[in-house]
């Protein structure tokens, strides 16, 4: 599989180039911050009418990851919808696609700050989920162990022989993983931002997404 394998909390995990996290032993796929319905929400609030294709694009990529990994369990790690209203008014074709993706597997919506309430869609809705040594929640907390979270949309900026590159990245240390945002219409927070630099331990790695994921010491 096109991914970067590493050990975390005693478990073998794979950071996929798409930004999804794969836990092979449990056949569990985790994605964070899909922000489905973002363009609809912006227009609803009097913003500009952005190209309304981000839901289809995000689901296309998720669908490709699901076909590749065939998970038994899918965890959407919060901010799956840009707001609760966006979840309610998601167009019918998108709802049907999500239902099709859910068929035959366990599907967990972890709540995020954008989508705190239950969604009118299949799957279970949880504040957080502890399974084995791992704890899945939307926003990282200080002092946690084996914690997998999202929320910050981390990205890493690197200088390569005099040119700069900035891509979404997994941040990994011995206590926690912060997932990059998976949704098409999402921006990023650089790993050298104070909140991330303080959250992550000194030995933290950034696993840069892309055709082939690569690990670097987390840029600070």
């Amino acid at each position: 599989m096109n991914g970067y394998d590493f050990t975390f909390a005693g478990e073998r995990l794979t950071a996929l180039g798409s930004g999804a996290l794969w836990w092979g032993a449990r056949r569990l796929l985790c994605v964070s911050d899909l922000h489905l319905g973002k363009s609809e929400r912006i227009a609803r609030r009097g913003g500009t009418p952005l190209p309304p294709y981000e839901v289809a694009d995000t689901l296309d990529r998720l669908s490709a990851d699901l076909e590749r990994t065939r998970p038994n369990t899918v965890i959407c790690l919060g901010d799956s919808f840009d707001d609760t209203e966006a979840a309610h008014v998601l167009p019918e074709p998108a709802r049907l696609r999500i239902a099709a993706l859910q068929a035959g597997r366990r599907w967990i919506w972890i709540e995020g700050n954008h989508d705190p309430g239950p969604v009118t869609m299949g799957g279970s809705h949880l504040a957080e989920l502890a399974t084995g040594p791992l704890l899945f929640r939307h926003i990282a907390r200080h002092g946690a162990q084996g914690e997998i979270s999202g929320h910050y949309h981390p990205k890493a900026a690197l200088r390569l022989r005099g040119r700069s590159l900035s891509r979404p990245a997994f941040l990994v240390d011995t206590a926690r993983i912060v997932l990059p945002a998976y949704g098409t219409y999402t921006g990023g927070l650089r790993s050298d931002a104070p909140v991330l630099a303080q959250l992550m331990r000194p030995e933290a790695l950034a696993i840069v997404t892309g055709a082939t994921p690569h690990a670097v010491p987390m840029p600070r």
Partner: protein, 802 residues
């Protein structure tokens, strides 16, 4: 024929002046719907534009706004206010004159809308904003005249297109409005007249006496210009000497960064402490105003400046203009030279200072062109749709509108006179619904059609957001720079965000002529201190870069073709001879391609002489083909005369790269996914109102909330490639940044006469390219390879293993 009122003629007589023939001619034509005056600097152009206004206001009966004056520069508006005040006071007219720009206070602006002055001096952006208010009809009621100053500069940009749409709006509000355009010498006056006219009404052209030829030469220096670079530091002693020998010298630079460096060096060498100032658009307003005031008082012997002083501000006693760096365009050079000696019928004195040896050649070619009165320029084509979209939204802000009426109004503007109705309708649909193939926003349309057929904003609150987005100038995400203090120190100016991101605490850079030390970023403000102990890094200001004109490029190639160069300084002639010896010189009917290794990479240098934009496109097309053939290009940089490509493999056979059919075939496919297109998309999408400008307050809330416009571009490319914004981006890129026409012209010129020269190191002519800014990375296989290498190296360095 009307007579000038005695009040005015008496004033002229009292001053010992006579009315210039073109001033009288303008007065005689006061009632024409539109008049364009072409006159040299110092020809009393502004007075010519305002004479009818003063004559009408002298009757003392006009209530409210009478004349609107629009100029491309805030500083010009302020300057004209000063210069009009004097005659108005001396004649004893009770006339209120005020300016209104981005710098005007909110209180003042509010008062101006309620109680407008007789004469309002403003910029295209501030005017567009004024027309967006619901009370615009009241404010502009009674407006008689509009004077567009420096119209030749406005006609070259979207700011001018925006202005003409705003004038069309005003003309609807005030059908008797008469237009006057004031222009410097241009190669095609008819084009400017068509631009200014209210179609289908005519616009008459008045040509004033152009005055004597300028006294212009290349500055002679002891020191030789360097092989490369843009600083011209070598010329400092000679420039100081010239400053000493003149009353006031304007020292023009092509970019802000170069102005900063030059000023810094000038200051270090200024042992006598001659009063010298610096002026450019990235400096804080108070700093700029201090320099302007000192200049007007005649306290400065020299000002280091950029295009911010390009236009007709009357700084009084300027008797020498020095142009640092090649002028790129003969017309602009002639206009700049006109800044010296603001006296009618006195020759302007100017000196050209090439920054490096290539520019010596360019300067000599430009001098020859000036002497031959050979101005250059390219026609600009119809007005762009992004500006049209912005004005549809502006119209909606001011109140409900009828689509037919708005179409009729907009097509009375010169740039849009040939606009087809379906193209207008597509823009209206874009503004209303986003115009996507997937109709997603029926409930949340931005504009809605009422039962009576009029269009209006669905959510009145969106007017505020649209107004904040008005304008066509792309601010390149700049950050304010302040001295570090407890409560926020003195503001110094702005730097580009990309440059700010490259700084680490302790780094130093130049701003406003001083070296400052980067301390940190707080609330999106760059905080600096004066504890500067290191050599400065250079602030990378995004200066406007003009392409060297076709005519000037041809003149340079003609110079190369000569057997020897007695007209060039010895050092430059020697340099060209050296290039001729180790490689060869580019020729008009051939294409020279050099290939050499340097700094661990392979380089390919293509001397196309097609102008910066076309060379940039050539770089994109060539790197794409190189990527496909496994040559692993990493990036390229383009100048007006060459493109330098670096990568991991050497090119051995260039001919297949330059087949015009493959280049053309690759163009459409290539247009889809490159950085220049994304940059173009971003600019056009911002103007058209699809992307909101990054506003200071919003940026503070954190980056993960905003996402890159590249994502929108990629999404449209994938799901809606024929969307209006994609059409605009392609059209825009083809005529501006892509400039494919000049590539076709180049290929036709060289045919199959391509000369590949393989060398073991960089050549004299290629060396300057290594220092060019604006390098474009190629996102291909090489990037993945480098990332893998870097990842392995960093992990190994950190003692980490995987």
């Amino acid at each position: 024929m009307p007579q000038l009122p005695a009040l005015l003629t008496d004033w002229f007589t009292a001053k010992g002046w006579s009315v210039h023939p073109h001033q009288q001619a303008m007065f005689d034509r006061a009632d024409r719907p539109a008049t364009l005056l072409i006159a040299p600097t110092g020809g009393g152009k502004t007075m010519a534009g305002f004479l009818p206004t003063l004559a009408e206001l002298a009757k003392g009966q006009h209530q409210g706004l009478h004349t609107l004056y629009v100029s491309p520069l805030k500083a010009l508006a302020a300057d004209i206010k000063r210069n009009l005040r004097t005659p108005v006071d001396e004649i004893g007219l009770a006339v209120r004159i005020e300016d209104r720009t981005g710098d005007t206070s909110a209180t003042q602006k509010k008062r101006q809308r309620a109680d407008p002055p007789h004469i309002l001096l403003t910029t295209p952006e501030s005017l567009a904003l004024l027309t967006s208010y619901e009370d615009a009809p009241r404010m502009f009621a009674g407006l008689r005249r509009v004077v567009v100053d420096e119209i030749h500069a406005l006609a070259e940009s979207k700011r001018g297109d925006q202005l003409m749409l705003a004038l069309a709006r005003l003309q609807t509000l005030c059908p008797d409005l008469r237009r006057v355009g004031l222009s410097a010498t241009v190669e095609d006056p008819e084009a400017i007249a068509r631009f200014l006219a209210r179609h289908p009404d005519p616009c008459e052209i008045l040509l004033a006496d152009p005055g004597p030829d300028p006294d212009i030469a290349m500055l002679e220096t002891e020191e030789m210009p360097p092989w490369s670079g843009g600083g011209a530091a070598y010329s400092i002693p000679a420039v100081l000497d010239q400053i000493r020998r003149h009353r006031t010298t304007l020292i023009f630079h092509n970019t802000r960064a170069q102005a900063e460096i030059f000023f810094h060096n000038l200051w270090l060498a200024n042992d006598e402490g001659l009063p010298i100032g610096i002026h450019h658009g990235s400096l804080d307003r108070t700093q700029r105003e201090r320099v302007e005031a000192a200049m007007v008082r005649g306290e400065l012997r020299a000002i280091v400046c950029t295009g911010s002083l390009d236009l007709g501000i009357d700084w009084g006693d300027v008797d020498l203009v020095i142009q640092i760096g090649a002028p790129k365009n003969v017309k602009r050079l002639v206009q700049r030279i006109g800044r010296a000696n603001h006296r009618y019928n006195a020759p302007s004195k100017a000196l050209l200072v090439p920054a490096n040896r290539f520019e010596v050649v360019e300067c000599i070619a430009a001098l020859e062109a000036v002497r031959a009165h050979a101005l250059d320029g390219d026609p600009r084509g119809p007005g762009p749709s992004d500006v049209l979209c912005q004005h549809i939204l502006i119209a909606a802000c001011s109140g409900p509108f009828d689509a037919d009426a708005l179409f009729a109004e907009m097509t009375s503007a010169g740039p849009y006179a040939d606009l087809a109705r379906p193209d207008f309708d597509a823009c209206l649909d874009f503004c209303a619904t986003g115009g996507y193939a997937l109709r997603a926003y029926d409930r949340w349309q931005r504009l809605q059609q009422r039962p009576d057929g009029q269009w209006q904003l669905r959510d009145p609150r969106s007017a505020q957001r649209i107004r904040q987005n008005i304008g066509t100038i792309q601010d390149t995400d700049t950050l304010k720079v302040r001295l570090q203090r407890n409560r926020g120190g003195k503001p110094l100016g702005e730097i580009e965000e990309g440059f700010a991101a490259s700084l680490t605490p302790g780094d130093t850079f130049l701003i406003g002529g001083q070296i400052v030390r980067y301390e940190g970023l707080r609330d999106m403000v760059v905080e600096v201190s004066r504890r500067a102990d290191k050599k400065p890094k250079i602030a990378t200001f995004m200066g406007t870069k003009f392409a060297t004109s076709t005519q000037l490029s041809a003149r340079i190639l003609d110079l190369f073709a000569r057997a020897d160069w007695p007209q060039l300084p010895r050092h430059t002639a020697d340099w060209l001879a050296l290039q001729r010896r180790v490689s060869r010189l580019p020729e008009r009917g051939r294409l020279l391609v050099e290939s050499f290794p340097q700094d661990g990479r392979e380089h390919l240098c293509v001397y196309g002489f097609a102008g910066r934009n076309a060379m940039q496109t050539l770089g994109l097309l060539l790197t794409k083909r190189m990527e496909e053939t496994g040559l692993n290009p990493l990036g390229f940089v383009a100048t007006d005369y060459a493109v330098l490509i670096w990568g991991l493999e050497a090119t051995t056979d260039p001919a297949p790269l330059f087949e015009i059919d493959s280049l053309r075939a690759g163009l459409e496919q290539w247009l889809a996914g490159n950085a220049v297109m994304k940059r173009t998309f971003r600019a056009s999408a911002t103007i058209a109102g699809l992307i909101e400008r990054n506003l200071g307050g919003q940026r503070k809330t954190g980056r993960q909330a905003t996402f890159s416009s590249d994502i929108l571009y990629d999404t449209l490319q994938k799901y809606d490639p024929d969307h209006l914004m994609m059409q605009i981006t392609r059209a825009e890129a083809m005529r501006g940044l892509v400039d494919f026409g000049r590539i076709e012209e180049m290929i036709a010129r060289v045919g199959d006469r391509i000369d590949l020269v393989r060398l073991d190191r960089v050549t004299p002519l290629a060396a300057p390219l290594f220092l060019e800014v604006g390098k474009v990375p190629v996102q291909g296989a090489a990037e993945e390879r480098l990332l893998a290498e870097e990842s392995a190296r960093l992990l190994a360095d950190a003692g980490l293993s995987v």
